[in-house]
């Protein structure tokens, strides 16, 4: 069994817990309750034929940690990160870019990807990409639009992370 620790990072209320809940339990709660501290979710990724079983321990962090997260024990030993932004709040996308930079500095070589969450709320952000921060229009890291509410790209995000981690022996 390959077990890897994956951090869910991002500003408060961008949907980190909703993504973890959709992934681990296939459910979505409409009400918002912020995470205090850290919740750990266990998610088994289907291995490819002949491959080893793969398990993510997903650390859903408190968005209030911000950059201090990188100096804490919570981040130690992390193998990967999914960094979440909220399409309906541009400020969270700026934070998301900053977190991608911080993560690559703190844990060089480790896998990370970014997701633009709340893609279902199409009336709350422009349809074209030209309003996104520069680093998200042409990112050097994997980037997907997700919706924890509909489940859009949630499994795919973590499956791609697992595949890359196995392929690169991370």
């Amino acid at each position: 069994m390959i077990v890897r620790k994956l951090m869910l990072l991002g500003d408060m209320a961008v949907g980190k817990t909703s993504i973890a809940n959709r992934l681990a339990f296939d459910r979505f709660g409409e009400s918002y309750k912020s995470t205090i501290g850290t919740d750990i979710y266990v998610y088994d990724v289907d291995p490819p034929p002949g491959g080893k079983p793969f398990q993510f321990l997903i650390w859903d962090t408190d968005g209030n940690f911000e950059d201090a997260m990188f100096r804490s024990h919570y981040m130690r030993g992390a193998h990967a990160a999914i960094i979440v932004g909220d399409l309906t709040r541009r400020a969270t996308l700026e934070s998301q870019l900053r977190l991608t930079q911080k993560f690559s500095e703190a844990l060089p070589g480790r896998y990370f990807a970014a997701v633009l969450n709340k893609n279902d709320l199409t009336d709350q952000f422009p349809p074209e990409d030209d309003w996104l921060p520069d680093g998200l229009r042409e990112p050097y890291f994997p980037l997907l639009r997700t919706s924890a509410k509909s489940g859009l790209n949630i499994q795919r995000t973590f499956e791609e992370a697992a595949q890359t981690i196995v392929r690169r022996h991370l």
Binding site: K5, I36, G37, D39, L57, G77, A91
Partner: protein, 377 residues
């Protein structure tokens, strides 16, 4: 470590010296697992702690380094293992290394931040943060709307200034011609009277045209224009047939003219003004105007090329403003034709480009991009 539980250093030391791993739970008292593997809590002795406690996953190196620094500890507050159908208990996890016994001691305690008061305080802080974020977002939206309104007001002011100036000009001219008629009557100059009446008639026609075009221009703001199936080839033929032009001026239709679902009246207005402009501003007795259409998946491109005087480079952007006319061109129209086209295209998300002919000959080339689907701007 035992300060929050029922344990004290003496108890721990005794456990450690007996070769036991101690798992201290302050909420339920002291639980002990012996080295023989009888583990009431599920913790198996001699297996790395990191394999057994999810919160310690990935911390192998950290744990190992504790052996060199016995005074240090790893502490993680408020950690829970999320479960599907229950509210997980939040715990503070603390790991130290007992130097004398060479054993790790892990304390797992209920989180201090787990009491109702702390959670309420945290959540009210977060709600405030979220509200502040929302207010900041809304403030930004209001500021953007205000800026848009200021721009509209500035445009309106410019428009009013231009309209009042351009309406005054023919009225002033009419007054002068009325004076000329009076003068000609006093002098019994019949030919002079007739000439002044002709001039007066021309100015009233000009004023009438100006008012009609102005009305059409302001109506372009009405977004209720419905889309309909349009045979663009038939439309361009009708437009050309309806426009008066000197015998020597030839209008030729080229390219691919598709069947479209679009706003027919607006497309008619664009085509009419493009061709009418090319005819009216032509300065020779003989000339040719080519109207070419090309269609892609997203837009219809209309290219009107003439062999008239052309539009000098310095005037190419200013001729799109309402009432803009080139010098020496005072009587050719209201000056609203290109402005109307520009306004229609801005409303639909299209574009207009004015330039010289590509073959280097005299004349102008105007390219209009007409989107196949309306994009709100």
């Amino acid at each position: 470590m035992a300060d929050r539980g029922a344990n004290d250093d003496g108890t721990l030391k005794a456990l450690v010296s007996a070769g036991l791993i101690a798992v201290v739970r302050a909420d339920v008292g002291l639980s002990v697992i012996d080295t023989a593997g009888e583990a009431a809590s599920g913790i198996v002795p001699r297996r790395p702690l990191c394999d057994q406690i999810p919160a310690l996953t990935g911390l192998d190196d950290q744990l190992e380094s504790l052996k060199a620094y016995p005074g240090r500890r790893i502490e993680m507050a408020n950690v829970s293992l999320a479960a599907r159908d229950e509210v997980p208990a939040r715990q503070d996890i603390s790991v130290i290394f007992d130097h004398s016994a060479r054993l790790f001691i892990t304390a797992i305690m209920p989180s201090l931040a787990n009491d109702a008061l702390s959670i309420e305080r945290e959540q009210s802080l977060r709600q405030r943060y979220l509200l502040e974020t929302q207010i900041a977002d809304q403030t930004r939206a209001v500021m953007a709307a205000n800026e848009a309104l200021n721009n509209i007001n500035a445009d309106l002011l410019d428009f009013t200034r231009i309209v009042s100036h351009d309406l005054k000009a023919p009225m002033r001219a009419m007054r002068y011609f009325a004076d000329d008629i009076e003068q000609a009557i006093e002098n019994s100059d019949t030919a002079g009277q007739l000439a002044a009446i002709d001039d007066l008639r021309f100015q009233t026609t000009r004023l009438s045209l100006l008012v009609s075009d102005l009305l059409a221009y302001t109506r372009l703001d009405d977004k209720s224009e419905a889309e309909a199936e349009v045979d663009t080839r038939r439309l361009i033929d009708l437009v050309i047939a309806s426009l008066p032009r000197p015998d020597g001026i030839d209008v030729r239709v080229k390219g691919n003219w598709p069947q479209l679902t679009t706003t027919a009246t607006l497309l008619d207005l664009v085509l009419r003004n493009l061709i009418d402009n090319a005819i009216k501003h032509h300065d020779l007795d003989v000339g040719a105007i080519d109207v070419l259409s090309d269609v892609s998946e997203e837009a219809m491109q209309l290219v009107v090329t003439d062999d008239g005087p052309g539009i000098p480079a310095k005037h190419r952007s200013s001729v799109l403003a309402p009432f803009a006319k080139l010098s020496g061109d005072r009587d050719a129209g209201s000056g609203l034709g290109l402005a109307m086209i520009d306004k229609i295209l801005k409303t639909r998300g299209g574009a207009i480009e004015i330039g010289p002919r590509l073959d280097g000959r005299r004349g102008a080339r105007i390219v209009v991009t007409w989107p196949l689907t309306m994009q709100s701007k």
